[in-house]
């Protein structure tokens, strides 16, 4: 039985882990968490624990060996560690794609992708690189290092943690804090609302269009693409809220992964708000080592395009993800190239005090560009994506009925989405819980009951997978 956050199994597993964690004396708590994390991981495909354990041993040993080493030897150890992680990714995630793309006369493998492989390998690589750069000492305690890689709330889809942020927390003495636990549960409830009510509610309509592009017209394709923009945000940020909230209940702080991304006024800003832990990973370990922006403009363009291409490939072994990554790279390059012109266009509005119009225009433009990119991200193949885009000009038929949503479902989902964005965009910070802080008790409890009731009444409880689990 898989322990997806939205499964009945997790509803039993999580309270038991919390009880066991706080019942265990502090020095042994890492054991409780490690056992819980192993159970969580093995609930999917048990045998893959061997793969994960192998990588943990390699990286743990490499970091210890790297610490006293200098020069070439130090570098060689890092390369071995990175090669093990990238190699494992390559074998499980990219081998079949490469064989197909290169028409290589090699047999295809039929292995399922180990759970959260892309996430925990990146977290492990962050650790060995930080040790290599002498920004973080090698962890001596194998159990605690294993827990850093396997910590169950963020094991399968992040946020991708850095060693300096997460590892020291395993040494902290966490007494049960009712306020913190209540805060964690509130965030989990918000995440469940996003996932179960909105993301899963919209998924059927999106699937209807994206699994059969040739039978749809502009109206349904546009609607499905907008729905997907909402779905993927609610799915992934919902997962992140549940992960952060679950960790918070037992006293851990995970890094922020979303910061109201659809309020971004440029693609560059979008990437500082969307999947932040991955964006900063690529910034620190790919983009900056390539030279970042302290290079000539052509070289910068190359750096940014390469970083986004790799980011696209990270999301999946499919040309659609590569094109999606390249598209965002091109957006960034074009954004920088056209900045002087756009500044001139903006100037009259800004001088006349109409900054909110400019801001709204920027937000809408960014959202449209991002949504255009989602077509490639969601389509099953490049051919499907091009078919969908090709049919975007055909407004001859109103085929919204083909989305398979009743008018009532559409109304409920629209209202839920409006409530979501009103709350998230209206909150004083990224933390929606602050919106209720200091409000009268009846307001807070009306909101809590509304949220729980909405999840119970409208949630899709078929334990569907989170979209980012496939990466």
């Amino acid at each position: 039985m898989a322990l997806l956050f939205n499964s009945a199994g997790f509803a039993v597993f999580f309270p038991l882990v919390c009880l066991a964690y706080f019942a265990t004396p502090h020095p042994r708590r890492w054991i409780t968490l490690l056992v819980a994390s192993c159970i969580f991981y093995m609930a999917f495909i048990p045998a893959y624990i061997v793969v994960l354990a192998g990588l943990i041993l390699i990286d743990y040993t490499a970091a210890l060996a790297m610490e006293p080493a200098r020069g070439r030897r130090r570098r060689a150890i890092l390369v071995v560690s990175l090669a093990a992680n990238v190699g494992m990714l390559g074998l499980f995630k990219y081998y079949n794609f490469a064989v197909g793309a290169l028409h290589a006369p090699l047999p295809l493998v039929r292995w399922a992708l180990p759970l959260g492989l892309s996430f925990h390998t990146f977290q492990s690589m962050a650790y060995t690189i930080e040790v290599y750069r002498e920004r973080f000492p090698a962890e001596r305690h194998l159990g605690r290092y294993a827990l850093y890689v396997m910590f169950f709330p963020q094991l399968v889809a992040g946020p991708i943690e850095r060693p300096a942020h997460l590892l020291p927390q395993f040494l902290e003495r966490h007494a049960f804090d009712p306020e913190r636990a209540a805060d964690g549960l509130k965030l989990m409830a918000w995440g469940f609302f996003k996932k179960l009510v909105i993301a899963d509610g919209l998924s059927g309509a999106v699937d209807a269009v994206y699994t059969s592009p040739a039978t749809h017209h502009a109206a349904s394709i546009t609607a499905a693409t907008l729905f997907f923009a909402v779905q993927i945000y609610c799915d992934f940020s919902g997962y992140t809220d549940i992960a952060i909230g679950a960790a918070e209940v037992i006293g851990f702080r995970l890094v922020k992964n979303f910061s109201r991304p659809y309020l971004a006024r440029s693609i560059r800003e979008f990437w500082s708000r969307w999947h932040i832990s991955l964006s900063t990973w690529f910034r620190d370990y790919v983009y900056i080592p390539l030279g970042g922006n302290r290079v000539s403009p052509p070289r910068w363009a190359f750096n940014i395009l390469l970083t986004f291409l790799i980011s696209g490939l990270w999301h999946g072994a499919n040309w659609t993800f590569i094109v999606w990554g390249a598209l965002h790279g091109l957006y960034m390059v074009a954004g920088r190239a056209t900045e002087p012109i756009r500044r001139r266009w903006r100037a009259p509005f800004e001088h006349s005090g109409a900054t909110s119009i400019v801001r709204a225009g920027q937000i809408v433009t960014t959202f449209v560009l991002v949504s255009f990119g989602w077509v490639f991200f969601r389509a099953a193949s490049l051919g499907d994506a091009l078919t969908l885009l090709g049919r975007l000009g055909d407004w001859s038929i109103n085929d919204l009925d083909s989305l398979g949503l009743t008018h009532l479902q559409l109304l409920v989902l629209s209202l839920a989405t409006i409530v979501l964005f009103t709350i998230e965009f209206g909150a004083p910070t990224d933390d929606v819980r602050l919106l209720l802080g200091g409000r009268p008790v009846w307001v807070r409890w009306t909101a809590y009951y509304g949220l729980v009731t909405a999840v119970l009444l409208l949630g899709a409880f078929n334990a569907s997978k989170f979209i980012y689990f496939q990466f």
Partner: protein, 352 residues
Amino acid sequence: MRAFVTKLTLIFVPVAVMLAANVFYDPVHIVREGPERDIASMLIAGRRVGGIVNYDERRLVAYCLQQMSQPRDVVVLGSSRAMQIRDDQFPGETMFNASVSTATVADLAAIIGEHARRHLLPRRMIIELDATLLDRSNRSDLWRAMASGYDEVRRATGLPPGPTSAPRLDRFFVLLSPVYFQQTVREIRARRSLRTFQPFAVISDDGGAVLPDGSRVYPRSVRDRTAAQLEGMAVAGAALMRSDDRYTHFKKIDDEAAGELAALFAFLTSRGTDVALFLGPLHPTMIGLLRESGDYAVFEDAARTYHAIAAQLHLPLGGSFDGAAAGCAGAEFYDPDHPREPCVNRIVHAIQ
């Protein structure tokens, strides 16, 4: 800490309300017996029955057979794809539609056995076949509503004991399920719109009905679906069948199930009942998409198996799982899985 426990308790108030509603309304009759006996009495008395949101179809068939005094000339048996076949298709003959949703081999055996046990075997039985009858994992113990019937046919044919499960205490956990709560809410809404809490005889079929011949009429909201809506549903249906664990594992024909079906048909013919078979058609768009993705292969295997059984026992077999091959257009469906009457009637006429 006390405040935290209080808050935690308070936040479970909606869950407690959910549990109370589930127990009180009990839409799938986990706590209390359902209305099947009353419905059966009304059907046997010749009334159309509406206002029933959830009931155990197997128990209803069992109660109907219990109250039936004479065998019918024709009995239709199968899954929900056969439920729309009515007695007006058999002029001059009496007919009973004993089809049940998501029928398994054990269900068919139990219904046939119940007919035999009560000396109600018809002159002719028209049996609709789904591919999933040959799916090894397609097992449930719903047939136990007619356990005596199953035992009757098992003694005569040497069928294996029916699939069973441990005492179903786990079903009470369903009362804690939000999915059950959503069903409860749907039931409450349906009851409110029907302004009744009991099944009742109807003149209009707008809300859906069970007819005296055992056949079903879909509610008007389903009957009025447009071709575009059906197309979208068919596409979504194909996506579901390609991704949902309930379908993706069905790759291989269960030879044992095929053998059991052949034994059942042989049992019927040995008791003097003529058997005619047909394959339940599915929406052509959905089948087209499944064919493209290679997921239709198992349906073709199932069709070949059924044709082999029919040839071996010299039984007529018509129809096709592919709606297009069966001569049914996309608009001749209620949803991706259920053909409308004109489609299914043509197939039934062809095998008579």
